[in-house]
């Protein structure tokens, strides 16, 4: 119940009275049920678990979190002490 993978919606269609989508995971695509995504759009990313999209990926939140981590990394690099000069063998 934990394995959900992000993928991009590249196609939306009705099949057997369900809203289905073709999801691109980076090189391969596969079908997933979009019934639990109220307003799916081509190009949006969703988290897919057992063939069902269970939530959208919030691109802004993802960017914000990543930005925060990157800034923390930069501060870390500024704060890190200079490595000692190499001594000749």
């Amino acid at each position: 119940m934990c394995l959900a993978i992000p993928g991009k919606i590249v196609e939306i269609q009705e099949k057997s009275c369900m809203r289905m989508g073709r999801i691109d995971y980076g090189g391969i695509t596969r079908e997933a049920c979009l019934e639990y995504i109220p307003d799916p759009r081509i190009g949006e990313y969703v988290m897919v678990h057992v063939g069902f999209a269970i939530s959208k990926v919030d691109a802004e939140e993802a960017a914000r979190t990543y930005q925060y981590l990157a800034e923390m990394n930069q501060l870390e690099e500024i704060a890190a002490p200079e490595p000692p000069p190499e001594t000749a063998p």
């Binding site: 934990c2 394995l3 995971y25 980076g26 090189g27 391969i28 596969r30 079908e31 897919v48 678990h49």
Partner: protein, 348 residues
């Protein structure tokens, strides 16, 4: 009163669209199959004699011999088929000792009802694979079993090759300091087979990597000091590394970030929850090479089509003998363990 007869003798059916039990009986149907399919496809002087055995001239020296069975389903998959797999797999088992592959046998166990067209396709593919690899299929056998007693087609092979003097390549020869090299991206074959067999509707360029590797091995040996060669088939690269660590009583350090995996295979593995390290390959090798000649060997590999994506993935160490330690993508560490059985997809 005269009666007119139109004689219609119930002679046995001569032309078949699918394999029947009679094709394995050793009688005329069998002979017809050999004469019309196997012989023209595999044609060579030894086979033409149709003796119970092939008598072959072999130069003096050490002989490498191997046997394998091929039961893959489906029979045909993107990138290959059971026939090509059988030839390349046997050739590669021989090549991993540094041997030059020479002769193959091919025994067929056919399920009653297999379409003759499918058998023809497999046999022609084997013939092509044998020609590509420069080997001859010199003897064979055909059995047919009742429907339900075999899964369409099983092929068992044996292979014979010659090991040149001075070559000593074995899983027990890895030495601390050796570089660990893989010939190309891993996981292609296993993921292709799994998704084709299970009808997982991946679209993308997934295909088997089945290929003969003996020419690549020859180039590697000419370029440097090769200690270990293994083609990581079922069980994948991870299992091969664990086996070599155990055989050689050395430790293996694997750099997770260095292991090449194609994007499509990586995505498929993520979706299925499978680890590419334990997915089968059919056209890749892993080598342990003396560090001093590793760069030269890599260069030689990259000059061959089967080795163009060759790269270093780790090193052999004296510590943690028998264990494979992975330096993970984020700088952590884990022990690699051989899975109990075939890796399964997971949702959890």
């Amino acid at each position: 009163m005269s009666l007119s007869f139109t004689l219609s003798c119930p002679v046995p059916v001569n032309q078949h669209k699918s394999i029947v039990l009679g094709h394995g009986s050793g009688g005329r149907l069998t002979a017809q199959l050999v004469r019309e399919l196997f012989l023209p496809a595999f044609d060579n002087p030894a086979l033409r004699k149709l003796d119970d055995q092939a008598v072959l001239n072999v130069a003096p020296g050490r002989i490498a011999m191997t046997t394998d069975s091929y039961v893959v389903t489906p029979l045909f998959f993107p990138g290959g088929d059971i026939g090509r797999l059988a030839v390349n797999g046997t050739v590669n088992d021989l090549a991993m000792s540094g041997a030059r592959p020479l002769y193959l046998t091919a025994a067929f166990i056919i399920e009653e009802g297999l379409l003759l067209g499918d058998l023809e396709r497999v046999v022609h593919s084997m013939a092509q694979a044998a020609a590509d690899a420069g080997v001859a299929i010199v003897t064979g056998d055909t059995k047919v079993v009742n429907r339900g007693c075999a899964d369409k087609l099983f092929i068992t092979t044996a292979g014979v090759g010659l090991v040149p003097d001075g070559i000593s390549i074995s899983a027990s020869n890895a030495q601390p300091g050796d570089a660990v090299i893989v010939s190309g991206p891993i996981g292609d074959h296993g993921i292709t087979i799994w998704s084709t067999r299970e009808h997982i509707d991946f679209t993308g360029s997934l295909q088997s990597d089945t290929a003969p590797l003996h020419a690549l091995v020859e180039a590697m040996i000419a370029a440097g000091d090769v200690h270990v060669l293994r083609d990581p088939t079922r069980g994948g690269l991870g299992t091969s590394l664990c086996e070599i660590a155990s055989s050689s009583s050395v430790g293996v350090e694997l750099e997770a970030n260095a292991v090449p995996v194609r994007e499509e295979v990586k995505a498929a593995c993520e979706i299925l929850g499978m680890d590419p390290l334990f997915v089968a390959n059919e056209g890749r090798l892993v080598a342990m090479v003396a560090e001093s000649s590793a760069d030269a060997v890599l260069q030689a590999m990259r000059g061959m089509p089967e080795g163009r994506d060759a790269c270093r993935i780790g090193r052999i160490v004296a510590g943690h003998a028998g264990m494979v330690l992975v330096n993970t993508e984020v700088g952590g560490s884990r022990i690699l363990d051989v899975p109990f059985a075939e890796q399964l997809p997971r949702i959890c």
